[in-house]
Each structure stands twice: as structure tokens, then as C-alpha cells.
């Protein structure tokens, strides 16, 4: 009997040992020399390898910004592609240091998973994509439809709520991997594909005939997407949160990749504090004082990151919309560095 029990015991031991979260993430990251970043398995504009095998995207750039702030090297990042189902476990067990994987900030995720959301790098909302041949113009005409959706997402729950609230039926077809959902929708297994609107634009480009599909106008939910860290390590939490804020503040102050060096000579006290000319703000989060300057030098400000990855001049062609700065009618707002 013992020889049957032992493997189970050791298996359990491994599982349990992995749940012991380490405290000082920044020390660990500095010691190993890179940031381990949990990313999507492939969502163009957010996190996907380009034709040279380099990871690019608006989520990827948050990871690169963290690496730039710590190591002055945006390439000091290793990416762990995660499915929606794997992502929280990977972060909880310490497999990744930070999770930037178009993950929606919700109360239950923030309070019961032992995780903290450090901010919002993209304000999104859930939408529906259908074939043009169905002659549907509104999500309210979708009663009876088969809907393809990825498991383990807020999308799955919003979908249920929306159809219920509007007294409509549907058939869910649920897959674990994004590629599987895409393939099933492309093979006409479902009438409707639902996920975050930004995702729909990105996925549409990967379908056999992108022109045959359209995204319906309804946005049925709030999906604030942001980086996530483990609970209980405030230093690391602050570092990730202020990395994001630094990028947003930089855009507001007009500091860009191109002009960051000359802006160090600026007379504007706000810019001086941001770029570490004045004050010791970097030291407070365990970094050197030019931390923000490093981020902007290597990765750029928030606006540059947005335009480069998902903006109007990219294949995705997403307008800034609610992701514009607060001063331009959007929601992106960062507390001041002072």
C-alpha cells in the first residue's frame, strides 16, 4: 500500500510548497536579473510575438517598463504565456512576478484571490462579433444564438447576465484556449464571438476573411484591464503601480521617448520630479531616482505605447476613446509625483 501512497504524497508536497508566496519580490527580481511576466498566449496589440519573435503589445510594454525601471534594460523580461484559466494560479504560486494579461479588475479577484490590481492600463468593455451574413445589427437580436467564449473569464459571466437581463436564450460553447475559440468561431460552430471589444478587433484580423465579420455596437460591461501582483508585498505593488502612473504622467507633461534627455533640463518642477532631477522618489520604491526617465527612454509614455500597439495607425486601428488622458476627455488619470 505504501508504494501507492508515496507518489501522491510527494505530488501534494510539490503543490503545497509552490503555494508558499515569497515576500520581497523586488529583491528576488534583482537577484535573478529579469522580471518574469505573465502574458497572454497571443492577442495582437496586447501581447503577441512579432515576426522576429519579440513580444510586443500594450501589456508587454508594461512589463518592459518595469524592467527598464529596475535594470535600465527593457529586454530584462521573460514572458510566460498563460491561458485565462492558468493566470491567477501562476501569479499566486510565484511562477510569475507580475501578471499583465488583459485581466479585468473585479472586486472578487481583488479580495479573495490574494492578489492586488495595481492600476488600469486599458479601459475596455465586452462586445459581440458576428458574421455580416446573419443580418444582425444589434446584440438584442441574438436570442437563440450559439456563443463562443473563453473559459475562466469575466466575459463568461457578463454574457450570462446580459442574455438573462434581456430575456434571451443562448448556447454557450466554451473553450480553454483563445486559439481554440478562434478556430471554432472561424469554423462556424458559433454565430457569435464575445470577449472584450479590443480583443474582438484583434481576433477579427486573424480570421480567414476578416471582412465577413463585424463587431456589434453594444458594449455590455466595464472591463478595466490592468497589471496584477501578489498581495502582501507593498514595495513591489507600489513599484508596478507607479511605473504605470509614470507613463501616464509623462504623456500629460509631454515627455516622450525622443525628448526625454533634453526634458531633464526643463524648468518645470513637475518634470524635474518625474525625471529624478529633483527629489528622491525612486529610492522610496527601491529604485534609482532616474527610474521614470529610464521607462520613458526605453518604452515611451502611455500615449506612445498606445499608438504603437493598438492606435489608429496600427492594423487594430482603435481610437483613444475612454483611454485618452483625463485632460482630453478620457479616463486615464495618474496621481501626481510629489
Amino acid at each position: 500500500m505504501t508504494n501507492k501512497i508515496l507518489p501522491i504524497v510527494f505530488g501534494a508536497a510539490l503543490g503545497v510548497a509552490a503555494t508558499a508566496a515569497s515576500a520581497a519580490t523586488l529583491d528576488d527580481v534583482k537577484a535573478k536579473g529579469f522580471v518574469q511576466c505573465g502574458s497572454n498566449t497571443g492577442l495582437a496589440g496586447f501581447a503577441a510575438p512579432d515576426d522576429k519573435g519579440e513580444w510586443t503589445g500594450i501589456d508587454v510594454d508594461v512589463c518592459r517598463a518595469i524592467a527598464a525601471a529596475i535594470f535600465d534594460d527593457p529586454k530584462a523580461v521573460k514572458f510566460t504565456p498563460l491561458t485565462a484559466k492558468e493566470r491567477f494560479t501562476a501569479l499566486q504560486t510565484g511562477e510569475v512576478d507580475v501578471l499583465v494579461r488583459n485581466t479585468t479588475w473585479t472586486m472578487s479577484r481583488d479580495t479573495t484571490l490574494g492578489l492586488n490590481f495595481a492600476g488600469v492600463n486599458y479601459y475596455d468593455g465586452q462586445g459581440f462579433m458576428v458574421r455580416k451574413s446573419l443580418d444582425v445589427t444589434s446584440a438584442l437580436e441574438l436570442s437563440g444564438a450559439s456563443v463562443c467564449v473563453q473559459t475562466g473569464t469575466t466575459t463568461e459571466l457578463n454574457l450570462t447576465d446580459y442574455f438573462k437581463a434581456n430575456g434571451m436564450d443562448y448556447k454557450p460553447v466554451v473553450f480553454e484556449k483563445l486559439e481554440e475559440v478562434n478556430a471554432a468561431y472561424d469554423a462556424n460552430r458559433c454565430d457569435v464571438y464575445t470577449t472584450d471589444a479590443s480583443g474582438l478587433y484583434s481576433i477579427r484580423l486573424q480570421l480567414t476573411n476578416p471582412g465577413d465579420h463585424m463587431v456589434l455596437p453594444e458594449i455590455i460591461s466595464k472591463e478595466p484591464l490592468g497589471p496584477v501582483v501578489r498581495q502582501g508585498d507593498d514595495q513591489w505593488f507600489n513599484l508596478v503601480r507607479w511605473t504605470l502612473f509614470a507613463m501616464i504622467n509623462a504623456e500629460e507633461m509631454g515627455v516622450t521617448m525622443a525628448n526625454v534627455e533634453e526634458m531633464k533640463g526643463s524648468d518645470n518642477p513637475n518634470v524635474k520630479r518625474l525625471l529624478g532631477v529633483d527629489g528622491k522618489f525612486g529610492e522610496a520604491i527601491g529604485l534609482s531616482n532616474d527610474w521614470a526617465a529610464r521607462i520613458i527612454k526605453h518604452v515611451g509614455n502611455y500615449g506612445e505605447v498606445f499608438d504603437r500597439n493598438v492606435g489608429p495607425n496600427t492594423p487594430l486601428g482603435i481610437a483613444r476613446g475612454v483611454n485618452a488622458l483625463w485632460s482630453k476627455g478620457g479616463l486615464q488619470y495618474a496621481p501626481p509625483i510629489r
Binding site: 503545497v16 508558499a20 491567477f88 479577484r109 484571490l113 447576465d161 438573462k164 460552430r189 498581495q231
Partner: protein, 400 residues
């Protein structure tokens, strides 16, 4: 066996003189207790460690989540389930879906496996080679790839709902699935069901009586035909006599999908195809080995007694082959049940997809969910193997 019993008798013989400390029986017992205690201690430590770490990391734990509202829908369910049901209900939906595909899969895999296994020993060259190609192809390609292939094949062959195939009136086939008319039972319909059960019971009784009579008197009785007739006629007569209290409700094309009817999802079809065909290739080899294990002399002896080839196969070869076939067959059944968890790749809502997938994600309680899932598979497998062991003992050679 022998060393133990001799040690025991020595221990008993010396018991009066030697100290208990040197008694091998006592020593053996003490060490076994120590090992078990140490194991329990290790397990308790793991449980405690997991609990404190989960608490320290602020991750919710416990089984309280099972009674909370699930809030998501499942495409296929054998039991009543809505998004207002609890996570525990969702667990049962996943479990019944797993059992459904496993049971039907075992059924088809066994039939196909026996046919192909016998075909591999056929005297007909074409049949023999076809069976060989089947076995060698299917058992040498990973099951996951076969499932993806069948899913893709099923989906690409079938048309969209508006252009459904209608092989029988009221039965539709499209890429949303196989849509069958729903059976609506009216009051009084249970009579037909009871009639069916009664007919089966009587048929079993007749076959036992016929066997006994043949053993005693040598007279034969066509019990199979009589039993089959009973099973068909009795429920039919009851059904007609009680005023036909069952009718069909046909599905209708509404909007872009069919409404009403019973839908067999393409995911289920692909999974069933993949699991049955893959496992059947292994069962075929087991069946072939079982038949070859029966010495040819048995056949010759049966012929010399005047038995015809079919009766020889039925009464002499198969019963002896079964003794070789059943133990490895059990392993194949267990493999099929466990392989059904690959359903997650093609979107069939089995236990792993629903419970260890969606529920795990919506609650974040990975430790509890994974442990429950593992225990369920362990339980199903142990029940299956104990049933097969019982069957094996029944079929085993009774030594006199």
C-alpha cells in the same frame, strides 16, 4: 507465503521463553504502525502548511463556495441546471457529462474492438489487412490529435443550421449538432416502461429455465428468440392498449438556430468518436491475443464432439479467451474514462472543463477544486476496476 507462516509458528513457539521484544510478530506490527503514523504525520503537515500559506497569502479557502450561485451557463446538461444553480450543481453537471461520454464510449469501444479483433484473425485477406491498418493507424497517433481531427472533421462536413441535412423526418444534422425530436411523456406512459422491465425479467427467467432443462434433459429451447419477442411485443401492446401516451415534439428553425428538440452537440460526437475508435484499437489487440491464447486443440476437440463452428466459438473459444481478455480490458476502460478529460481541448463540458476549468477560475480556489476533481476520478476508476475484478473472478477458471 511460506517464510511468513514459518516465522509466525516459530514466534508462537518461542513466545513463552523469549522477550516480546524479539517477537517477530510484534516487531512487524510495531514497524507497520510507525510507518502509517509517519505517513499520517506527513499528510497532516502538508494540510496544515497549505492552510496557513493560503491564509497568509489572503486566498479564500474551504468548501463554502460550493453552495454559492454559479452564474454561468453550460451547453450540455443531463440534470436541471441554470445559471442560478450552485457551483455544486455545476460540479454534478460536469460529472454526469463525463460519465455519459465514458459509458457510451466504453460500450462502442468494446463492440468495435471485438469486431476488429476477430477481423484481424479472419481468413479473408482484405478484412484481415483492413483491421491491421485500423489498429496500427489509430493506436499510434496521440489521442489529443485525433480528437482535434474529429472535431475539425465533424464541423467542416456539417452544414450551417439554415442548410441542415434531414436524414429522417424531424431529425436534423448541422454544425450545431444532431437535433432529435423530443419525447414527451404523458400520464400513463410509465406503464409501457414497467412492461419493458417485466418483459426483460421474464426473458432472463426463460433463458435460465431453458439452460437448466437442457442440462437435465438435453432438450433445447429457442430462449433467445422467445425473449426478444417478449421484449418487443409486451411493451408495444401495453403502449397501444394505454392509448399511446407518448408523442414526439419536433425542433423548429427559429432565427438562426433550431428551437426545441434534443440536441447532441458536435463536441460530444467528436469526443465519442475519438475515444471509442482510439480505445477500440487497443481492445482489438487484446481480443486477438485472447483468442490466440486458446490452444487450437480446443477447437479440434469441439469439432470432434460434433459442435458446429459458431457453437464452438460461442461455447468453447470465447469463454476461455475471456479469461485472458478481461484483466487488460479493465485497463483500457480506465484509460478511456481518464482520457475523457481531454474533452477540455474541444469544448465538451466534462468535469475538468466545467469544474476544474470554469468553477476553479470563477472562485480561484485551485487547491480544493483540484483535490475534489482528483478524488472523483480516483473513485470512478476504483469502482470500475472493482466491478471488472468481480467480473473477472466470475469468469475465472474454477479449479476443482
Amino acid at each position: 507465503m511460506n517464510p511468513v507462516s514459518s516465522a509466525r509458528s516459530e514466534g508462537a513457539g518461542n513466545g513463552a521463553r523469549a522477550s516480546w521484544f524479539y517477537n517477530p510478530q510484534v516487531r512487524g506490527a510495531v514497524f507497520q504502525v510507525l510507518v502509517v503514523l509517519a505517513l499520517l504525520g506527513v499528510l497532516a503537515f502538508f494540510a496544515y502548511n497549505a492552510k496557513t500559506n493560503l491564509e497568509r497569502a489572503g486566498i479564500a479557502s474551504g468548501l463554502g463556495f460550493l453552495s454559492e450561485r454559479a452564474g454561468f451557463d453550460i451547453s450540455q446538461s443531463l440534470i436541471a441546471y441554470t445559471n442560478d444553480s450552485s457551483y455544486f450543481r455545476a460540479f454534478w453537471v460536469g460529472l454526469t457529462n463525463t460519465l455519459l461520454v465514458a459509458l457510451i464510449g466504453v460500450f462502442f469501444a468494446t463492440i468495435i474492438g471485438f469486431v476488429v479483433g476477430v477481423a484481424r484473425l479472419s481468413h479473408n485477406f482484405v478484412i484481415r489487412q483492413l483491421a491491421a491498418v485500423y489498429v496500427e493507424t489509430l493506436r499510434n497517433i496521440p489521442l489529443l490529435l485525433q480528437l482535434l481531427f474529429w472535431y475539425k472533421a465533424v464541423l467542416s462536413v456539417l452544414p450551417s443550421p439554415r442548410r441542415s441535412l434531414e436524414p429522417l423526418s424531424g431529425v436534423y444534422l448541422n454544425n450545431r449538432g444532431l437535433i432529435l425530436p423530443e419525447v414527451i411523456r404523458e400520464p400513463g406512459s410509465s406503464l409501457t416502461f414497467y412492461a419493458l422491465i417485466a418483459a426483460i425479467a421474464v426473458a432472463i427467467g426463460i433463458s435460465r429455465w431453458a439452460r437448466k432443462r437442457q442440462q437435465e434433459t438435453g432438450q433445447q429451447f429457442p430462449s433467445f428468440l422467445v425473449g426478444l419477442g417478449l421484449i418487443i411485443v409486451l411493451p408495444l401492446v401495453t403502449f397501444l392498449a394505454s392509448g399511446m401516451p407518448i408523442h414526439f415534439e419536433y425542433a423548429e428553425l427559429k432565427g438562426f438556430n433550431f428551437a426545441g428538440g434534443v440536441v447532441v452537440n458536435p463536441e460530444f460526437m467528436a469526443l465519442l468518436l475519438g475515444l471509442s475508435l482510439y480505445t477500440a484499437s487497443f481492445i482489438a489487440e487484446i481480443v486477438r491475443a485472447g483468442i490466440l491464447a486458446v490452444a487450437h486443440g480446443q477447437t479440434e476437440a469441439a469439432y470432434s464432439l460434433g459442435l458446429r463452428p459458431r457453437r464452438t466459438l460461442q461455447l468453447v473459444i470465447i469463454p476461455q479467451a475471456m479469461r485472458v481478455i478481461i484483466p487488460p480490458l479493465t485497463s483500457q476502460y480506465l484509460n478511456l474514462i481518464k482520457n475523457s478529460s481531454l474533452a477540455v481541448a474541444i469544448g465538451y463540458p466534462d468535469l475538468v472543463a466545467v469544474f476544474a476549468g470554469t468553477v476553479l477560475n470563477q472562485t480561484g480556489q485551485a487547491v480544493e477544486v483540484i483535490i475534489i476533481t482528483m478524488l472523483v476520478y480516483l473513485t470512478i476508476s476504483l469502482i470500475t476496476s472493482s466491478f471488472m475484478n468481480w467480473y473477472n473472478r466470475r469468469m475465472a477458471l474454477v479449479e476443482r
